[in-house]
Symmetry: C2
Subunit: 707 residues, 2 copies
């Protein structure tokens, strides 16, 4: 990977060579020259092709070395087997950047992967920045330059789109042309042999023409780097991402498409949340949101006014808004009075405001103006069902004019398809996003509000490291690694947790029934017994746990029952004995833990504990290092947080102990890279002020290959 | 409400009078005549207007009585104050049906409501079927007839659309014209003073030109009637409904728009499920589904083949399909070999099948043909990202041709907007639904599969009535009603449940501590005490429950604690004493109950019980009378059903006792119309074969107004 900063050459080159330029209109090498010409590129254009004298009127050169002037950017459109040597020639000629359109690399199997590594080496050797291979290039509408072969150039605009799929770029270009939505830049990344999504994110954040960054993501090159760059970018402008490959089949398809290293879908969710990246659920949503974020101010709150000429469309909007967590603005009496005085007699002036089918642009103008001036209104949605009394274009003009003033977001919904093209063009020129169906405004306003709230939350400083007995902790892990263990059992995990200042019930190990009784007598009754075996994960499933043993004979009997049950159900498990543990009868059961995500590192988890967790899946995740605010937010998003607060008359439990446990685990996870995952289940959370006890814990050591 | 069957006059009238016809092109009364003329109505057209001699070349009559020939349908477009007399004149003249376009009725307040009642009476007196008032009329593209004033006539087609919003009809017409999707009929219901959505549903079910019935619903006139008609219609053809007014604001907006009587959103969900009605989540989804249901066969299973010319669009489809419960077809080796032999070298022949950007219609044809012939494929999605090698129209033709044969559904996704109009027109003419974004195919295929599975489930016979002591049950309710009680307390509810053959723990009433001890001695320890008071709903919240009392002194102390707690927390509650109940220490806690929905009658509920229900909301609902299959389905959709089956090594609980309880409550609810609701919480479900005990129950008597 090259570290030089030549990315501007991809968007604002002074000269471009097209290696593989062709006179054959069916060839990609022709399409690139055609696009540069047709879409008004103003720099020098140098086709390179030993067998042609000119392409589309541009003088052709036999090789890159023959080009008489410096070349800022080379577009390489030659068969895969010539690509490496071609890029080397570019390097020799001092070309600082190249787009490799050609396919036949990593996406095709081992042979292609080897060729791609060669390409990377060549690029690095010449300090040449390389986009692709297997990509369709870049568009900058402001320069203007279009290095792709795809027909169509979007209007100038302020949305940047970075995509790991060229086909999706082609679809978005066609959609942009049809809808009149402008873009600042588009980039197709292809295989990301050199330039990757994270670098481009930084580049778009720095681009003054770009107000919103959008992306189609199959994966990221380096999760931690992405996280940092995305968080910085999101402070500057909205970042909206469509991350695909969520399910099993989708993840497999991603692997075979670009070979992106999988992080879990949950980890991406958490990473986006941590970085302030908005996550769209579909391609439509991506640009529904982007238009509004680029063109309209953010709402201050969640109170929306709906203005409509038909009851049904208004209700469609209200249903969707409520479903997305927004609410109807109550409107002041002054507004209601004004509306009543200016709207038709049977109009419904309460929100949703229905001014009825006959009302024209003047009535819309007065009503929208009054709604935007109302202090209870944070955002307005203006709906028009098709009618025959005035041109939709007039309404579009009026919305644009009235909305420009008050600094509140206005979303339009001029409904229909056959009669609305002109009105849409006006709205989009006036920077009012239009949605053909009222329901679509809801997720857009919710995304705008989410961004506003994220911007208002000041960035938190990292928390100070907890005092911890790191030497002991590292010794425990080292011993486990050296013994070849895959699992950290209950007693090792307890010691690890204790080293990080977490409390566990008193406990000791026993290898016979008599020893178990002796330990129990020392700890005091009642006790629990738990089988100790590196081979058994879910102890209670195999009869390996006995609880509430109140005297010596119960302990003896419990020990024998465990041994019998485990022998029967797991005859091949190697059993070390049992852990005798003081019973903790009280406290709410919570699970707290973490697992190392291949992309984003330790992914912390909190939720309903005990045997419930796999049934209710009441868990929230976050990425280490957690800040206190993130830990609070995670816990708040679970149901168990409501139980902790004192559900149905129960006394409140020690919520702060759960937060503390999360934060200590976050640090433990970062300190101990040889541990792959660690769970406390249950953490028994005692009454407020009394703390919490890690009753049962379990860790997993990284497998040998990963160490 | 008239019972005569003149609805055909709204769709196939031999002659139409337009009362209020106008020469002024800005008037609705002009638009109606214009539409009849422009959209080729072939019957007789009689404008009625005393101040005009002709409208658009049609001779005008001074009043309906002056029209020389019989009139099948009158369109009334006169000011509200003349509507009643006008309709009376129609009745006198023997006109069997009228569309009242005029507004100013129930939607405007009490005065308008009175006028609407008058209108209903007049219509009933003359046995005249009336659509509206406050509606935009009807369209039948096959007759053809367009009685609306809205510009635009959809193409002929086989989708019927029934709407409680005229504005939504106008929007759908414009969308239909833009997208080229044909319709058989459209109806705007307005205020439904006479003809309502349920009658029209039956009418559409009987229409041979209609293959799919769609609807925009704010509410129904009569829930039980709707349920029956919808279930019959759904057996004949797909019924897809968009029900709005789900949240609080939405429901209020519905009330002020058409004044529809609210049934709860959950009750509508349950009613649609019971009747086999597919519920769309948005207007877009409504017609996404309708097109595919009208044009394509239903899939036999959930295995989908995705064929694409770009990796990214394929992944978008796969993500969405998996999210909707569909799966990727594995494909046979024969198919994989064939694809490998016919596709470009680097194509990815595993599903999603990516034939790469350069592949043309011939490659699509071969690949689609092979996929549809593959026995592991139940449905195919064909995606094309915009490219410059061939016309999208060619692909559209090819998809239409190949898809016509094999009886498996094919959905197209020719992506983009600017370049796709012609291809779309071809696809829609060939009855292949197209979706501009790959994600949209998923909910459509899921809806098709849901319909297929519903059709394959044979209708269940009603279950035989359980033997029950109905006399005792009715006596208990009668006593409560006569005493003016609002609540059925624990002991009355227990007796009611016992009368219906349900088991409860042994119990008796006590009004002093000494009595409580005496009862406890008789029942045997341990016991629970529960305060008895009609004024206290959540007993445990106020300290009104003591459990696990194991001897006389514990009972005495418990009694005093309850009295003290209740006096402190609910000083004004009237306390009758306590119920002493045998403790049931074992069994899973389940809630089972029902509540009378204003539209659909008793709505049964089952879910996780105890104090959990309001936290986890793990509940499912269904409408009485439940069939056994419906009760099973309800329980299956809860998490508690997995607990009942034996979660994490626990022994299985008596699931059949829960089903039995649901079915007995379903019958109880229908037998006792004076009870508004009744809950058992918890029902303690014992080990398999051991039954279940209704530990705590509570009923609500209908309020006096409703009795």
């Amino acid at each position: 990977m090259n570290k030089g900063q030549h990315l501007s050459h991809f968007f604002n080159p002074r000269s471009i060579a097209i290696i593989g330029a062709s006179r054959d209109t069916h060839k990609l090498g022709h399409g690139v020259v055609r696009n540069l010409h047709d879409y008004h590129y103003r720099g020098d254009i140098y086709p390179v092709n030993p067998r042609a004298r000119e392409v589309l009127g541009y003088r052709c050169y036999p090789e890159i070395a023959a080009v008489p002037q410096p070349v800022d950017l080379a577009i390489v459109v030659v068969p895969a087997r010539y690509v490496v040597s071609t890029v080397a020639q570019c390097g020799e000629a001092g070309v600082p950047a190249a787009v490799v359109v050609s396919g036949g690399f990593g996406e095709t199997g081992p042979k292609g992967q080897a060729r791609e590594r060669e390409l990377q080496e060549i690029a690095a050797r010449y300090d040449l920045r390389l986009l692709g291979p297997n990509c369709i290039g870049t568009i900058d509408t402001h320069t203007p330059v279009n290095t792709t072969f795809v027909v169509g150039m979007p209007r100038t605009g302020d949305i940047a789109f970075v995509s790991q799929s060229g086909a999706v770029v082609a679809a978005v270009i066609d959609w942009a042309l049809g809808s009149g939505v402008g873009f600042s830049r588009m980039v197709s990344l292809g295989n990301s042999a050199d330039v990757n999504e994270t670098e481009l994110l930084a580049e778009m954040a720095a681009d003054p023409q770009t107000r919103v960054i959008t992306g189609y993501l199959e994966g990221v090159a380096n999760g931690r780097a992405f996280l940092q760059v995305a968080a910085e970018a999101a402070r500057v402008k909205p970042v909206v991402m469509l991350k695909v490959g969520r399910g099993e089949g989708g993840a497999q398809a991603v692997a075979s498409h670009t070979g992106a290293l999988a992080g879990s879908a949950k980890a991406y969710d958490a990473a986006f949340r941590k970085a302030g990246v908005l996550r769209a659920g579909s391609l439509e949503e991506l640009f529904d949101w982007a238009r509004a974020l680029a063109w309209q101010p953010l709402p201050r709150g969640n109170r929306v006014a709906v203005l409509t000429n038909g009851g049904g469309p208004g209700i469609l909007a209200v249903d969707a808004l409520e479903g997305a967590g927004l609410t109807l603005a109550p409107l002041t009496d002054a507004t209601l009075d004004y509306l009543a005085s200016r709207c038709p007699p049977h109009a419904s002036v309460r929100n949703p405001v229905d001014i009825l089918a006959g009302s024209g642009p003047a009535t819309y103008a007065r009503a929208l103006d009054a709604l935007l001036a109302d202090e209870t209104v944070d955002a307005a949605v203006v709906i028009q069902a098709p009618q025959d009394w005035f041109y939709p274009t007039s309404l579009a003009e009026v919305i644009g004019e009235v909305a420009a003033g008050p600094g509140k977001p206005v979303l339009a919904c001029i409904m229909g398809l056959a009669s609305t093209a002109d009105a849409l063009a006006i709205l989009h020129r006036r920077r009012i996003p239009n949605y053909a169906f009222p329901g679509r405004v809801a997720s857009t306003l919710a995304a705008m509000l989410a961004r506003r709230r994220w911007l208002e939350t000041p960035p938190e400083p990292p928390i100070d490291p907890f005092p911890a007995d790191r030497e002991t902790a590292q010794a425990i892990v080292k011993t486990a690694v050296q013994s070849g263990a895959a699992i950290l059992g209950g007693s090792e995990t307890s010691r690890l947790l204790e080293a990080y200042g977490l409390s566990t019930p008193a406990h000791d190990q026993a290898t016979t029934a008599a020893q178990a009784v002796a330990v129990a007598e020392e700890l005091g009754y009642p006790v629990a017994l738990k089988v100790t075996s590196l081979d058994i994960t879910h102890k209670s499933d195999v009869g390996g746990v006995e609880i509430g043993l109140s005297n010596a004979s119960a302990v003896r009997a419990g020990y024998e029952r465990i041994m019998a049950a485990v022998r029967r159900r797991r005859p091949r498990a190697e059993v070390d004995g049992v852990m005798v543990q003081q019973m903790v009868a009280t406290g709410l059961e919570v699970i707290v833990g973490w697992k190392r995500d291949p992309q984003f590192g330790p992914l912390l988890l909190v939720g309903s504990g005990g045997t419930e967790v796999e049934l209710t899946r009441d868990v929230a995740v976050g990425i280490a290092p957690l800040t206190r605010g993130e830990a609070e937010q995670m816990l708040d998003s679970t149901l168990v947080s409501r139980r902790l607060a004192g559900w149905r008359g129960a006394p409140p439990a020690d919520r702060s102990a759960v937060i503390d446990t999360l934060l200590r685990l976050s640090q433990l996870a970062l300190d101990l890279p040889q541990v792959a995952e660690l769970d406390i289940n249950p953490l028994r959370v005692l009454a407020a002020g009394k703390g919490a006890l890690a009753v049962d814990g379990r860790g997993v050591i990284l497998s040998r290959e990963d160490l």
